[in-house]
Amino acid sequence: MNQINSRTVQLFATCLIETLRPEAGMAVVRILEKLAVTVEYPQGQTCCGQPAFNGGAWDDARGMGCYTLDVLSRSDAPIVVPSGSCADMLVHHYPELFASDKKYGAIAEAVASRTYEFSQYLVDVLSVTDLSAEQKESIKAPERVTYHPSCHLLRGLKITQQPRQLLEHADGVEIVEMPNATECCGFGGLFAIKMEEISSAMLERKLDAIESTGAQAVVGCDVSCLLHIGGGLHRRGLKVETKHLAEVLDRKDEA
């Protein structure tokens, strides 16, 4: 066991950030380190198994869950996850999945109790809501962004205000609320493949909502939903970017 240090965290980066959006992960790392938090990356981490769990392959999901629990239990440091749905998996679904498992049941509870979604860790643990720079004059024309509260973040973890507070204080950002913001984008993991027709119809509504704001970027706390929305925006030929909250908050030029 490593020495416990309240200002050391383990980063569970998630498989999508590892493969598709490493910039979001690096933004998280830079933000935390700037706040004097040492970020550790438990080696060997892969995927929490949510695709299999949501897909109904619980035996496979348990296999992946045991693996991830082992990886995250080598240290007692808090776990920061830059994804609402993966954090929800660790916080709520692991304890359910291993409820009747003598060994992993206790491990799952322990891991769940020290797991935080990224914005939640900043606001609730570090009490940081303002990551803006001192010198505001260096900011060019503000970027119009709209915030998509992803479902598992919002209704699973009940994280409603933290990302908004951080975003409101961000430099060079003008927030435009999209209509029916709390509605699902239609991703739902394998749902997007298995029920493609319904998923696409839901996405169309979300894209209409985003388009109506005239925003230059959609900001969220889940790379998975942003992947879905971004894929739809690109297919529509819209020049709207998707950004993880950390990418908006991270001021690289100052690093």
Binding site: A13, E18, T19, L20, R21, P22, G25, M26, V29, E33, Y41, Q43, G44, Q45, T46, C47, G49, P51, A52, N54, G55, G56, A57, W58, D60, A61, M64, Y67, C151, H152, R155, G156, E183, C184, G186, F187, G188, G189, L190, F191, A192, I193, K194, M195, E196, E197, I198, S199, S200, A201, M202, L203, E204, R205, L227, G230, G231, G232, H234, R235
Partner: protein, 479 residues
């Protein structure tokens, strides 16, 4: 069979629904309005969350001692002069109603809204016996005229626009075309008044049975419920065995959340409490009251992982909140019970093997759980049923094999690294001519690219970038 799956596949039903523009107009109009009304109505309670918690506790407690409350309810109904019948399944219920009808020489039946009768297909059974059955809830009446089934638990013809209904009434009952709901209602009322006076038997649903008093409670917004239960000489009330509350006080808690969640009303226009048949010296009411309690699989659900679905009080709030329901409407579910609650309840009562598609029809967004007045964790139960479906061999082979392989890869970081490396190289080659976006993927992943592009994998995976950051951090600290 009361839960026989339709002949057309779920995907075909969904495709039909998605192409139906009128359906979308109708659903968007209604579900949006109900959602706003619901929020406002709940806000009129001093502490809506506390009432919902209380309502949940009442449902949980009742179901944990259901046998006790059923016995108490039955004996109190009989003490009040009513007759109690237990029906094990749909066929048994239909048989009991037919026998009551035969014994009393019933020719004409009026019905107020009853989901149980939809579940058992009672109208078909009675018509086969030569009995004429007329639905008197306006929505149900319209559905009956159109030879359709309800597409929403509390708004049977939510799938129709008022213009469509105006045309239907014009064609079927020979009134002028109206697009004003008030005029349509007045015309239908005229027609139905005769049916009430002419009927030998009234069949109704039940919202709650009160165990302590043997009372049945029925909430409606149209006068049809009262006429159905008082004008004919026989009243037959149909209820699921789970629809009990212990006392009248408990009932008042349930009523505080039911109408608010369902239609956004503080209270429905009519709240009927019926205890027994007409007693000597009373002016109104039937000669006989029969209450039929239907099991039809419910007792089998008790004590299982999805037992909580029996807490449902049929308010329909989860249907209005569900983004999937809003896209496909109720008929696509192919079941008497639609939307999130139907997607859980139908496989629970009718068997997962026949209904394995319904639990898949959810993005697990949690909107249903958020609005449920008794806080049923519907997404959780959809997940349980997905796992059951897999165990029943209902997961497509490609997916089963794919997830199995994925699981294996995830547990071996070297393999995971190799797999992501191949994906990275492959996706970047494919996406190179199209600015880093993949526009087509091979089956089964083409389901994604039919409406969405997919980005190429990043040039440098996160762990590589992080390791570089760490070595830089080390140097900085040394320096």
């Amino acid at each position: 069979m009361s839960f026989a799956a339709p002949n057309v596949t779920f995907h075909e039903r969904v495709d039909d629904a998605l192409r139906d523009q009128i359906l979308h107009t109708a659903l968007d109009r209604a579900t949006g309005r109900f959602q706003t009304l619901r929020v406002n109505a709940l806000a009129s309670l001093p502490d809506a969350d506390a009432v919902r918690d209380r309502a949940r506790m009442i449902r949980a407690h009742t179901l944990s001692s259901l046998d006790t409350y059923l016995e108490r309810f039955a004996s109190n109904v009989e003490r009040a002069g009513g007759h109690i019948h237990f029906a094990r399944d749909a066929a048994a219920l239909n048989r009991i109603v037919s026998e009551i009808a035969r014994k009393n020489n019933v020719k004409n039946v009026v019905k107020s809204k009853s989901m149980i009768s939809e579940e058992t297909k009672l109208n078909d059974a009675l018509e086969a016996e030569g009995i004429r059955v007329v639905e008197t809830d306006l929505g149900e009446y319209i559905a009956q005229l159109a030879h359709e089934h309800p597409s929403h638990i509390i708004v049977p013809v939510i799938h129709k626009t008022k213009e469509q209904i105006g045309e239907l009434l014009h064609e079927k009952i020979g009134i002028p075309y109206y697009d004003d709901p008030a005029q349509m209602t007045a015309a239908a009322r005229e027609k139905l008044r005769f049916e009430f006076l002419n009927a030998d038997m009234g069949i109704s649903g039940v919202n709650f049975g009160v165990a302590a008093t043997g009372t049945i409670c029925m909430v409606t917004n149209e006068g049809n419920g009262r006429l159905t239960t008082t004008a004919p000489r026989i009243h037959v009330a149909l209820m699921g065995i789970e629809r009990l509350v212990p006392t009248l006080d408990d009932l008042s808690v349930m009523l505080q959340v039911l109408a608010r969640s369902a239609t956004g009303q503080k209270i429905t226009v009519y709240t009927n409490l019926i205890t027994g048949a007409r007693r000597a010296g009373e002016g109104d009411g039937p000669d006989e009251l029969h209450i039929i309690l239907l099991d039809n699989g419910r007792s089998r659900v008790l004590g299982t992982e999805v037992a909580e679905i029996l807490y449902c009080i049929r308010c329909g709030a989860c249907l209005n909140a569900c983004p999937v329901y809003r896209e496909i409407g109720g008929h696509a579910y192919g079941s008497v019970y639609q939307g999130p609650v139907g997607a859980v309840l139908t496989p629970a009562l009718g068997g997962i093997a026949q209904w394995s598609d319904l639990p898949q029809a959810s993005s697990l967004c949690g909107a249903c759980r958020e609005v449920c007045p008794v806080r049923i964790d519907i997404p959780r139960m959809l997940l349980v049923e997905r796992d059951q479906a897999t165990r029943a061999g209902k997961m497509p082979l490609w997916l089963r094999a794919g997830l199995h392989l994925y699981s294996l890869t995830v547990r071996h970081p070297a393999l995971f690294g190799l797999a992501t490396m191949f994906s990275r190289i492959g996706s970047r080659v494919v996406a190179a001519p199209t600015q880093g976006w993949i526009r087509w993927l091979p089956p089964p992943l083409n389901a994604w690219t039919r409406s969405r592009d997919f980005p190429a994998f990043a040039a440098k995976p996160f762990h590589t970038q992080f390791n570089k950051f760490v070595s830089q951090r080390g140097k900085n600290r040394e320096g």
